[in-house]
Symmetry: C2
């Protein structure tokens, strides 16, 4: 198949300089804010965005290690298939985070729930629509035992946001 090209549309500014200590999901990063700097040439596309209170950020795991078909998730002791995890070492290392949008000023967004490493290239912004994105899922595989409370207590989880912890 032919190769596809992406162009960063901005950069994510975050207090997280390294994976150690970085919350592994936005829902575990409440109270941690950051900014999303959109390149001026794309700022016109931000019109109407401030009327949403949650948005998807899509970004490039620029510090991920190369793809490996299995990984050992942080809270597990067994190697799992990569596509059954949210680990960053993917064939196409794209992460998604549903963050809370606090403000839009020109080409700068301020968001809460920052679980992304500082300097991460931004690929896309989409509105979060509960009717489509908040769906039912009963079976959650190896994550089934790892309930949210356990995750919150531990503060870590094998997800999108471990951009470097497993990879450097």
């Amino acid at each position: 198949m032919k190769e596809l090209h992406l162009r960063p549309i901005g950069v994510i500014h975050s207090p997280h300089q390294q994976a150690a200590g970085t919350p592994v999901q936005s829902s575990l990063a409440t109270g941690i804010s950051g900014t999303v700097e959109v390149l001026p040439e794309f700022a016109a596309g931000l019109k109407d965005l401030e009327a949403f209170d949650r948005i998807w950020l899509m970004y490039w795991f620029d510090r991920a290690s190369p793809y490996h078909p299995t990984v050992k998730p942080y809270l597990d002791t067994v190697e799992r298939g990569l596509f059954a995890t949210r680990a960053p070492a993917r064939p196409n290392p794209i992460g998604i985070s549903a963050v809370k949008l606090l403000s839009v000023e020109g080409n700068m967004l301020t968001v809460d729930g920052m679980d992304i490493l500082d300097g991460t290239p931004l690929l896309d912004i989409k509105p979060y629509l509960p009717a489509f994105d908040a769906v039912q899922a009963e079976k959650t595989g190896w994550c089934g035992q790892l309930q949210v409370n356990a995750v919150l207590a531990d503060g870590r989880f094998e997800t999108d946001s471990k951009a470097g912890s497993k990879t450097k």
Copy 2:
């Protein structure tokens, strides 16, 4: 910023040959199944996936028109900022769909809720985790008036899945 490269990891097979008539979101496509063919070289990464009953498919809107900073959503009469919509004509034309996983056989997945055009290049598969992905969002901007019932009655909505309707 430097250019980033993607490689398709498979292809999506769907009954939808053209955007007209294609459900605009997976949650509006219940009962419509399709298959996801993962390239054999990535099949090992599918281990453990069948224990999840919902997955994110990430794919390339290969039939989208070039980026334009504003679009007129299908159920709206006003031009909206592109990033406040899920229209496919994005700087990086990547779509996401949370589909129901019915089976995994070798490198072939069968899924329900197919809202993607036939032949669409597959970029990634991630497990859907309600604790992280099903989050609260009260303000939904211009979509606020467009409640789910209205969408269901009409059968269309401005979302990820309109891969071609606005673009060809």
